[in-house]
Symmetry: C2
Subunit: 336 residues, 2 copies
DNA sequence: CATATTAACGGAAACGTTTGAGATGCACCA
DNA sequence: TGGTGCATCTCAAACGTTTCCGTTAATATG
C-alpha cells in the first residue's frame, strides 16, 4: 500500500505537506497541491483508515445496533428495508456500516456500548424490537451520537414512522366503506403498539364508532400463528366483526388463513386490513389493504440526521422526526 | 479510554510487558500476568482496535460484498438469512462485519477491492446475483482471503447450496406423485440456474420423463410478474403440464396468481413447486411444496471457512463445500 | 531601509499498539 | 569462578496519519 511517505519521497516535499495538500488545508500553494493530488492519484494512494482514525478519533464508521428477540434479524422486512436505505445514504456520505452487539473479546464480555468504543464508531443507529434492555440504555446514556428508530428517548433524536396517522387513515377508510363493527388484533406492547392504538381510538371517536374491548385482543407482530388463533376466536364470538385489523401484513397471513379455515372469504364475508405494505401483501389476491411505512425515507433520514449530529456537534438538539407512510388500497375491504 | 500506558503506570511495569501479558506471550511470569490481567479488567481496559490494526494489519473485520442488481439488497430473503448466520458465526469468533462496495472517498472513485484495502478487512465474503462484474474479479484476484457463496471460482473456496440435488429431489417427488407432464420456469442465466437445470434434466432422464423445450421457459428469480406471464403462457398452450416448477417461492406467488386467474386451482387442476422454503411459502394454503436451502448452515460455514483461511494461511487450498437443503412437502402437488 | 506580515513548507511529537533486540538477574554446570 | 542458558522484563522503533509550532523567504508597511 502506498503511503504519504511514498508520495512525499517522489515529490520531494515533507509528509506533512502531502497530508495537508490532500486534506485541503490552506497553507500549501495551489501549484504543489495540484502536483501532489495528481501523483497521489497516479500512485493509487488511499489513506490508511486506521492510522487516520488513531489520530483523529474519526472512523467514518457507523454502528448499527439491531437487536431482535425472535432472532429473525435481517429477515425482518421492515428492519431490512430501513437498514438498506440507511446503508445507501451513509455510503453516499462516505460512511461505512458495522454491526454492533454485545460480544466476547479477549475472554471478557463486552457490552454493546463498549463494543462501540472498541471500534470507535462515529455514531450509532438503534433499531430494536425491545428498547428496554440495559444494553440500549447504556448506549443511550453514552457520549456517542445516536439516532433511534421507532422509539423516542427524550435526550436523543428519533426517527419514527407515523403510526398514529397510519392507523387513522386505515380506520377512516374502513369507516368510509361503511364498517362499524371493527376488531383490531394489536401487536405486542411497545411504543409502536401504543401509538397505533392511540390512532385507532382517536379515529374511532371521530367517526362515532364504538370500540368493544373484546375486539381488541393483544397478539404479536410478525406472528401468523398467534394471529391465526386470535382471528379464529373473533370469528367464533357471539357477535362477529365485519372488518379485522391485523397486527401487520406478515401476521395477516395467519389471520387470512383463519378466515378461510372458518369457511369464510375475504372480502365478501370478512374484511381484512394489514400494516406495513410488505411485498407479499400486494401479491395476494385480493391485495391486502394496508399502510406502507416509508422505509426508504426512514432509513435515509436516520442516516442523514446521524451524520449531521456527528459533523455538527453544536447543533446537537434532540429532535423527533415523524415520517409519513402511504395508504395502499387493496381489495380486502368490502364496501358495505 | 484507558490504554496500556495507564495499566503500566498503575502496575509499575513497562507498556511492553502489559501488552505481552494481555496477549498471552510466554516471556512474562505467571504472577505478573495475573496481576496485569486483573487490573486491566478492573480498569475496564479494551484494546484500541485501530492502533492494533495499524501495527498488525489485522482488523478482525470481515467485508461483506453484497451486490444485488434489483436493489433489493437485504430484502432478498436468501441473502438476508445467509448474512444473518454469517454474522452470528463471525461474531462468535470475535470478528465484526462491514459492508463493502464501490464508493467515493475523497472525491475519487474507489473500487470494492480498494475499499477493502482502505478498511483493511481481514477477509471477504461475496454473495451476489451477478458474479461477472469487474468489481468481483478484482476482489477474486486480490490477495485478501475470500469465500464465495453460490458461485465457484477455481482459485477460491466456495460455499454452494446443493442446487442440483435439490432439483432432483423435487422432480423425484413430482414423479412419485405420478406427474409426467412437467414444466419448469427457469431463473435467469447464472451458475445457480445451470446447476438447477442440470439436476432437473438428470432426474428427468432417470425417471424416463420427456422434457419439452417449450416447457422450459426462462424467467427470472424473485420476479412474480414475469412468472405470472410465463405461467399464463404455459396454461394457454396446446398441451398443458400437470405440474409447474417455479423459479423460487417468491416468484411462485405470481405463478399461483396466474393459475387462479385462469380459473384453475392448486393442486386440483395444476400442481406447483417452489424453491427456497421461505417463510411465506409455508403460510400459504395449501403450503407450497418446495426445497429449503439450509441458509443458516451456508452462512455459518462461510464464516468458519473464511476465518480459517485468515488464521491458517498455510492451509489455503481451494475448496468447494456443498450444503444440502431439505425437501418440504406441502400440499401444492396432487397425487395422480 | 527596517520591521511586520504573510505564504509556504518542514520538523517532530503524538495517537495506542506490537515486537524484536537487548538488559538484568539467577541458577546451573564444568 | 566464570561462562552458559534461561526466565523475565525494558527499550525503542515502527505502523501511517494529523497537527502544532517553527523556519524561511518574500512581500507589504511605516
Amino acid at each position: 500500500m502506498v503511503s504519504l511517505k511514498d508520495i512525499s519521497a517522489r515529490c520531494n516535499v515533507s509528509v506533512a505537506t502531502v497530508s495537508k495538500a490532500l486534506n485541503g488545508h490552506k497553507d500549501v500553494s495551489e501549484a504543489t497541491r495540484e502536483r501532489l493530488v495528481r501523483t497521489a492519484r497516479e500512485m493509487g494512494y488511499f489513506p490508511n483508515a486506521q492510522a487516520r482514525a488513531l489520530k483523529t478519533n474519526r472512523t467514518f464508521n457507523l454502528g448499527v445496533m439491531f437487536l431482535e428477540e425472535a432472532g429473525r434479524g435481517l429477515t425482518h422486512e421492515f428492519f431490512a428495508k430501513v437498514l438498506n436505505s440507511f446503508k445507501t445514504e451513509a455510503e453516499l456520505a462516505g460512511y461505512d456500516i458495522t454491526f454492533i452487539s454485545n460480544k466476547d473479546i479477549g475472554g471478557r464480555r463486552m457490552s454493546t456500548y463498549e463494543h462501540c468504543k472498541y471500534r470507535s464508531v462515529d455514531g450509532i443507529v438503534i433499531a430494536c424490537t425491545d428498547f428496554t434492555t440495559p444494553d440500549v440504555f447504556e448506549v443511550i446514556n453514552g457520549d456517542i451520537p445516536v439516532v433511534t428508530i421507532d422509539h423516542i428517548f427524550d435526550c436523543r433524536t428519533a426517527i419514527v414512522s407515523n403510526n398514529e396517522n397510519g392507523m387513522e387513515k386505515l380506520l377512516n377508510y374502513a369507516a368510509d366503506c361503511g364498517h362499524t363493527k371493527i376488531a383490531y388484533i394489536q401487536g405486542k406492547k411497545s411504543a409502536v403498539a401504543e401509538k397505533r392504538l392511540a390512532g385507532f381510538y382517536k379515529a374511532c371517536v371521530n367517526r362515532g364508532i364504538e370500540v368493544k374491548p373484546e375486539w381488541l385482543p393483544v397478539g404479536d407482530y410478525c406472528n401468523p400463528d398467534v394471529t391465526y388463533q386470535l382471528t379464529k376466536k373473533l370469528l367464533k364470538g357471539r357477535e362477529i366483526p365485519t372488518c379485522i385489523f391485523m397486527p401487520d401484513d406478515y401476521a395477516a397471513i395467519g389471520g387470512l388463513n383463519a378466515i378461510k379455515d372458518c369457511g369464510l372469504s375475504v372480502p365478501d364475508d370478512i374484511s381484512a386490513i394489514g400494516y406495513d405494505g410488505i411485498a407479499y401483501s400486494q401479491l395476494l389476491s385480493p391485495k391486502l389493504t394496508t399502510y406502507a411505512q416509508d422505509t426508504p425515507l426512514i432509513g435515509a433520514t436516520a442516516a442523514r440526521k446521524l451524520i449531521s449530529l456527528i459533523e455538527n456537534p453544536q447543533t446537537t438538539f434532540t429532535e423527533v422526526i415523524t415520517v409519513d407512510g402511504q395508504f395502499l388500497e387493496g381489495g380486502s375491504v368490502k364496501k358495505l
